[in-house]
Amino acid sequence: MRRVATAVLTAFILISGASVYGADSTGPIKIGYLAHLTGDASVWGIPETNTAKMAAEEINAAGGVLGRKIEIVSMDTRSNAADAVNAVKKAVAEQNIVAVLGSNWSGINIATSSVCAEAKIPQISSYATAVKVTINDDGSVKPWAFRTCFMDPYQGKVIAYYLFKELHKKTAAVLYDIGSDYSVGLTQYFEDNFSRLGGKVVGKWAYKAGDVDFRPQLTQILSKKPEVLMIPITYKDISLVVRQAMELGMENTVIMGGDGASPAMLAMAGPELQGSYWVKHVSPEDPIVAGIWKKYNAKYPTSGEYANIYKAYELVNFIADIIKASGTTDGETIRKAIENCKNFKITDGTITMDPKTHNPLNKSAVILQAVGKELKFVTKYAPVD
């Protein structure tokens, strides 16, 4: 027992020795950005973090916030929740961050929400779309969690309504990732809505992340001859699925999916993806979005993740503006400010927060279609009953 106690105490001392104690109210305003810098999801996390820093530099050059500079404290989730929780706790204890921005993964944000609640600082997700990020199981809202993007239930509805009402498709098959909360959720919301409208989901097949061969599932799907193949998955899997589906002889089937899509997939499966539809939060052709994207690519290694780049930029500016409007960095004050913002100006448009769900009201989706080597804007879409 003594040995263990000694060992534990040594570790304690090591950690405390390595700590740096946080700043006060005259130094820079520190804002934490939670993103995946290592692991599979770093393809989104790195651009988001770089953009956040870029946005901060711009704001500082224009005079900063409340006379102080803002500083982005980058927190690495290591693509897993336990590490993310530690990262946030460390930044809170050592750097006195006033808010957490990001990440784009629901599971991680749900885990870190209790840390932010305890520290009394708001957390605004970038693209975490699961319901539980802002709303508890019993329906109550999480006071310190927010997001500025739409949720999966909405996204599922958009896909179902667009397919049924605009494209007049009545049968669909779904191929989803059993281990992804995003994929599983979106599948359920799509099916609920599609069936309610009168469509039929002829079958749902699953795979596990890491799988590269989907032909067993696709063969079964094609034997049912659905009009639509709905794939609520991420872009690498999308390219492989579609390539293999074409190889198996899929024709005249509409392909549609959610915001896991990315222009990068066209480099991998361009010819096979022609004509497919994707739901996104913003369009790459929107001039403001395109402008920020260009700025990013000029400064950092080129990245195709225009949506994440836009969102990081929007969030940093949003929190900066909220702090300016509140006149303070006090947690409770800015929390209330975010909760009650109405038609608040953000980088591209305005935002009105729903105090009951901490989700933005009236966020419509954007439908894109793969044409040539790009995802082209088709329409803004808000499902109407």
Partner: protein, 292 residues
């Protein structure tokens, strides 16, 4: 059930890739009696090297692939010389080999992520991504080419093992390393050759996987399926590795199609356990006992 034959084709296609990987792995196992988990690193090395060489357009693709194989073969020899040989010199506990190979695979995969990036890269299309229609079944041209490559190399390996002096030495060493060395076989040299071959096979497997499924650092995780295939067929047996892998591919395809795509890996795992209960040494049942 009308899709049954197509699923068999799908399974054969998946299985043939596992087989190519499993053979290299089994070769090392049959001689050193340890699982080289770094096999995935040789595979990634081949995949990335092939990708970069072909992308530069400086040479015909076949030459690029050949060089990729040489590079991964060389990498394998390097690992053997600097990681495994010292362990063997100190007694060679199987546990140590497992851990060292694990460390190498963690190091290498993360090195690629940190140094080159986690982005997915696509091989320029070397072959049409189309399928042939045959009796109502669809067989992809890419699959046929990959299966062809796999068969070619396996035949080459068979020839090497059965018809050359070096091959005979390897087979002797697989039976009993100590006695083979007493017979005058230069064990160090032999092991280098074995790893060179294993690296070759991993390299070509890497290129094939890269073409079929794009190149990314976690590509090596497919090797665990190959290991399971090798176990199913019987560790230590090369034909076993091939048969086990192909069976695994077919079982996976049929399970996903007809039983449950959600629980596929669980069911495959249960099948593995059941096979191990009734045929403890796998399908081919080669038991290389410990000599006392």
């Amino acid at each position: 059930m009308s899709t049954f034959f197509q699923q068999i084709i799908n399974g054969l296609s998946i299985g043939s890739v596992y087989a190519l990987i499993a053979v290299g792995y089994s070769l090392v196992y049959s001689i050193l009696s340890f699982s080289n988990f770094a096999h995935s690193s040789f595979l990634i090395m081949g995949a990335y090297t092939g990708f970069f060489l072909i992308s530069t357009n400086l040479m015909p693709p076949l030459l690029a692939i050949f060089i990729a194989m040489l590079v991964s073969g060389g990498f394998a020899m390097f690992i053997e010389r600097f990681a495994y040989r010292p362990i063997r010199a100190k007694g060679g506990k199987s546990l140590y080999y497992i851990i060292a190979s694990l460390g190498i695979s963690i190091f290498f995969e993360n090195f690629i992520v940190a140094a080159i990036g986690a982005n997915y890269r696509t091989y320029p299309s070397l072959l049409p991504y189309k399928a042939i229609k045959f009796l109502g079944l669809r067989i992809s041209i890419l699959d046929l080419a990959c299966a062809g490559i796999a068969i070619f190399f396996l035949i080459l390996l068979e020839f090497f093992l059965k018809r050359t002096k070096m091959g005979m030495a390897i087979r002797a060493a697989a039976f009993d390393l100590t006695t083979a060395s007493l017979m005058g076989v230069n064990v160090n040299f032999l092991l280098s050759i074995v790893f060179l071959i294993a690296g070759f096979l991993a390299g070509i497997a890497g290129v094939v996987l890269g073409i079929k499924y794009t190149v990314y650092p976690q590509l090596g995780s497919l090797t665990t399926k190959a290991f399971i295939g090798a176990i199913l067929g019987g560790l230590g047996s090369l034909p076993g590795a091939i048969i086990g892998s192909i069976c695994l591919g077919v079982i996976e395809a049929c399970t996903a199609a007809f039983i449950s795509s959600q629980l596929r890996d669980l069911i495959v795992f249960l099948i593995l356990i059941i096979v191990l209960i009734f045929r403890p040494n796998g399908i081919m049942g080669v038991y290389v006992d410990d000599k006392v």
